[in-house]
Amino acid sequence: MSGSADVKAAGAPSKRARVLALTSGKGGVGKTFLSANLAAALAKRGRRVLVLDADLGLANLDVVLNLFPKITLHDVFTGKVQLEDAILHAPGGFSVLLAGSGLVEYSRLTPEVREQLLRIIETLAPRYDHILLDTGAGISDVVLYAVSLADDVLVLATPEPTSMTDAYATIKVLATQQQRREIRLAVNQVGRIGEGRTIRGQLQLVVDKFVTPTLPAGTGALLLELIGEVPLDPSVREAVQKRQLLIEMLPGSAAAQAVLAIAAKIAP
């Protein structure tokens, strides 16, 4: 039913960017941290990357990247500037489109927001290899709409029970409403290597028991793919506080290595 279900070969650079949405259900699990560092890691691998701050209600990619532009998506939406003028070059060698805090009025999914987001992605897709959509927290209509525009979706969770519950709720909604059958999972702040695998297994177990049986017959089962686990690492806090990209500031840190490994999986 939805275009999101079609599966294209991931990996090799193609003529059109592959759009990856990052979402989490719960806020504060490191979604924006991962978006920014993953984008930089992909850029390191020679890919042309754009991060679109789709967290329209409460944007903070600007804070993470230490960018405070005068021109934001808000100006594009209102027609004050051309889309090109709002694209910024972030320190990690990738492009960003920032929502800006003036976009609170767009935190509801009006037809205008829908059209604008769709238009932006369609316009920019031919110019990049990867477009990352950094979505807001929660399972709001804007978040779900942004995810629906993506080819792939990455759900980020932490081992915290509330985060796991919200990640599960998100996965459930994406499977039932958007007919997603493959969802990538990354686990942030793991206490030990292998914890991510355990969490994926646990989530898959619940999905198999409670979600897959409710899906329309013949549409396949929902599969969670663990794309990486990022260890709890004090260097993350250090980088965030200095408003720098971890993979640039402390590339040898365990967390940076984990992000680089995720990039390698996305762009082999």
Binding site: L109, D141, S148, M164, K209, T214
Partner: protein
């Protein structure tokens, strides 16, 4: 003019042809004509899609829940084949009337096409959806349709419902499609029933939580 006369529209007589009052009456008449289904007098599909589009905008802004019901007469072809098309028309009219008795002034009821009807119910909480659909179903079932002086038929309807897209790619076709899918389900499950899409609010049940965190651990939390 002929169209208006045919559909029983009366134009103001005290005003001459071509005067503004007369012209306005013609325009009003044509507007009315273009938005109604001639047989049942309900809104037609065009009018329905307009109403649905504005309801989507309203839902997006106000966040109120709204329900769309697609309603299809069961085995309507049998009625037509057995009793003839005039009887079929009478059934359509009677069902339209029964449906009309179920709605509130703010609701939109339309003949969607053939023997399919559609309803938009603004501000309908998900908890009430099934009860509302059931009430509609029972209302139609209870109605005997006189197709000849001494002949009555009873028909039933299947209903499919979906709540407003408080989510993705919200568009009128998609909303209708979701309700339609539930209608197919109602048909497949044996007709004369109402199937509603599960509410979009994704609640994680205690059973799911139990499995997610291991039952014993969850029991302690409880």
């Amino acid at each position: 003019m002929q169209l208006l006369q045919q559909s029983g529209h009366t134009l103001p007589e005290r005003h001459e042809v071509g005067q503004i009052v007369w012209l306005q009456a013609v325009i009003d008449g044509l507007c009315e004509l273009s938005s109604r289904d001639p047989l049942t007098g309900l809104a037609n599909r065009r009018q329905f899609e307009l109403a649905l589009a504005s309801e989507i905008d309203r839902v997006a802004r106000a966040g109120e829940p709204a329900l769309v019901l697609m309603i299809d007469i069961d085995h309507f072809k049998v009625v037509n084949d057995t009793h003839g098309h005039p009887a079929g028309d009478l059934v359509l009219k009677a069902v339209a009337q029964a449906l009309h008795e179920c709605i509130r002034p703010m609701d939109t009821l339309a003949r969607f096409g053939g023997e399919e009807f559609a309803m938009i119910l603004p501000n309908c909480p998900p908890l009430f959806g099934q009860a509302v659909a059931e009430r509609v179903r029972k209302k139609v079932q209870a109605r005997a349709v006189a197709i000849a002086p001494s002949q009555q038929v009873n028909v039933t309807v299947s209903l499919g419902g979906a709540f407003a897209p408080q989510w993705v790619r919200s568009s009128a076709p998609l909303w209708i499609d979701r309700a339609d899918q539930q209608l197919y389900r109602a048909k497949a499950e044996g007709r004369n029933r109402a199937c509603l899409e599960q509410p979009t609010v994704s609640l994680v049940s205690p059973e799911e939580k139990g499995l997610l965190f291991g039952t014993s651990q969850f029991a302690e939390v409880q």
